[in-house]
Subunit: 286 residues, 2 copies
């Protein structure tokens, strides 16, 4: 079995690590526009060989883990190149535009639209982690448009990786993920910015930061090259979540201005129920 990974970073590299364990007979080929990523992945034994698009015709499975803007141009080319019984799946954080882009592609049935909800704030082959996907949710969109046999072999792999599968249409995916992922990234980046701006004149400020601050700004370490096209493709939903978030922050500020501490207590007390909700979220052990 020949498995090609296009984009060998955290997502693709972690897939490769699990596949090496679960499919010891598979040969894993890596393709990346960043040649140092290819060399690093070879050195780390994440991939067995480097490859290019000309070799895609020999692939049985292609995992495309590249920024969502590049995905729009590359996925049709990849589908053009693969044979009839090859499955191609992605890991992009947006689903509507990509599904629309390949809607009428003659090999649409070879594509499975996926979003495994897993990752860390790090990137590149060295960020790849074995068992990253264990216990995580994988959202699959428009499953009915993928050939049944290809669904079957891919889902078997996902299940062996320990993933929980959820089916959703691309529009619902993009709307919901804006709340539970895209907004968190913006809140974290802007919190980091606010504190860094202040720190310019106040050198001691980070000496005072504890683990609470670290947790809240962790996502501000994320890759701008990955996240810019996500925000672009999910612009309308992200703007909506940002407006609601800004509105809630303004209302909290008003309560402070008006010395309404009963109101402030209530806001926090009502939100404490996040405890119960978070208990259901599978977390990275790392």
């Amino acid at each position: 079995m020949n498995i090609f990974i296009i984009g060998i970073g955290l997502i693709g590299g972690s897939m490769a690590k699990d596949i090496k364990r679960l499919r010891p007979d598979a040969k894993i080929y890596g393709i990346d526009t960043n040649s140092s990523h290819v060399e690093e992945a070879l050195a780390l034994q994440i991939i067995d060989a480097k490859a290019d698009y000309d070799e895609l015709s020999s692939a049985d499975m292609v995992i495309v883990s590249i920024p969502v803007d590049v995905l729009l141009t590359e996925l049709p080319r990849i589908l053009d190149a693969v044979k009839d019984d090859c499955v191609v799946f992605d890991g992009g954080s947006t689903k509507s535009l990509i599904c629309k882009t390949v809607e009428n592609h003659p090999k649409r049935r070879n594509y499975l639209a996926c979003h495994p909800i897993a990752g860390t704030e790090f990137s590149g082959p060295s960020a790849a982690i074995e068992n990253l996907y264990d216990g995580k949710t994988n959202i699959i969109c428009e499953v009915e448009k993928t050939a049944f046999k290809l669904q079957e072999k891919t889902l078997e792999l996902f299940q062996q990786m320990g993933m929980r599968i959820r089916y959703m249409n691309p529009e619902a995916h993009d709307k919901h993920i804006a709340y539970v992922s895209h907004l968190s990234h913006i809140s974290s980046f802007m919190l980091g910015k606010t504190v860094i701006e202040k720190e310019k004149n106040e050198r001691d400020i980070f000496d005072m930061a504890g683990s609470g601050f670290e947790s809240t700004v962790r996502l501000a370490k994320s890759s701008p090259a990955m996240w810019t096209p996500i925000f672009e493709q999910n612009k309308e939903n992200v703007i909506e979540t940002l407006e609601e978030y800004i509105g809630n922050l303004q209302a909290f500020k008003e309560l402070l201005v008006e010395d309404d501490y009963k109101g402030i207590y209530k806001e926090m007390n009502d939100t404490n129920k996040i405890k119960g909700i978070l208990n259901g979220i599978p977390l990275n052990k790392k």
Copy 2:
């Protein structure tokens, strides 16, 4: 040596656990308005005995770890009750108002104004952790107002707990801590609120949340009883940080509205330097 802990929760309880190891001869007394906390602390062997204010005259050291509004009324009463060579210190997240409150107290020299930057989102005696303070920063305000011998014995204990000591005036403390702690809590609470509000109609949304969301909303599990008076006492600084944060979020939204993706990339790329800054922050192992 008799050590009294007033308020036996995460902060006071974790102090008690370290003291038991570092001062095996000390007897640790616990005072708490919540009698179930006292019973729990006894059962967990965090304290050796329960006590009340009448017994404070026998104390050599009093650790006051109670919400900052209660601290304002209790600290003067505690100082009234202690003997001349007893040191009283607190762990409050605001420092200006408490220092002002005891400014002219006849036993001002018995008080050391402290803020150990340590904690988790949990509370109560069961949240107490051994070595919570190891590697953490402890901000001490107006150190010159505390009797030298009392400074000395308290700092020796803090150093044995592994804390780094920083000296600061109360106004600078309150201004800086608003950025690196108080704002993080509000951003987290309001993020939780925004997503919970959405979830009312969208039951599946949390199935899609990953570890990034969990990290960003972790602080929304914090105690409203502890945090409401902190925001009240640090109102002016907190409002300032909130306005800057809201301004940054609005500017980010505008970049999205205007399709300025170069600008969005730059915002995130500039904030990525938080990586280097965070590497210097001591974190909880828990």
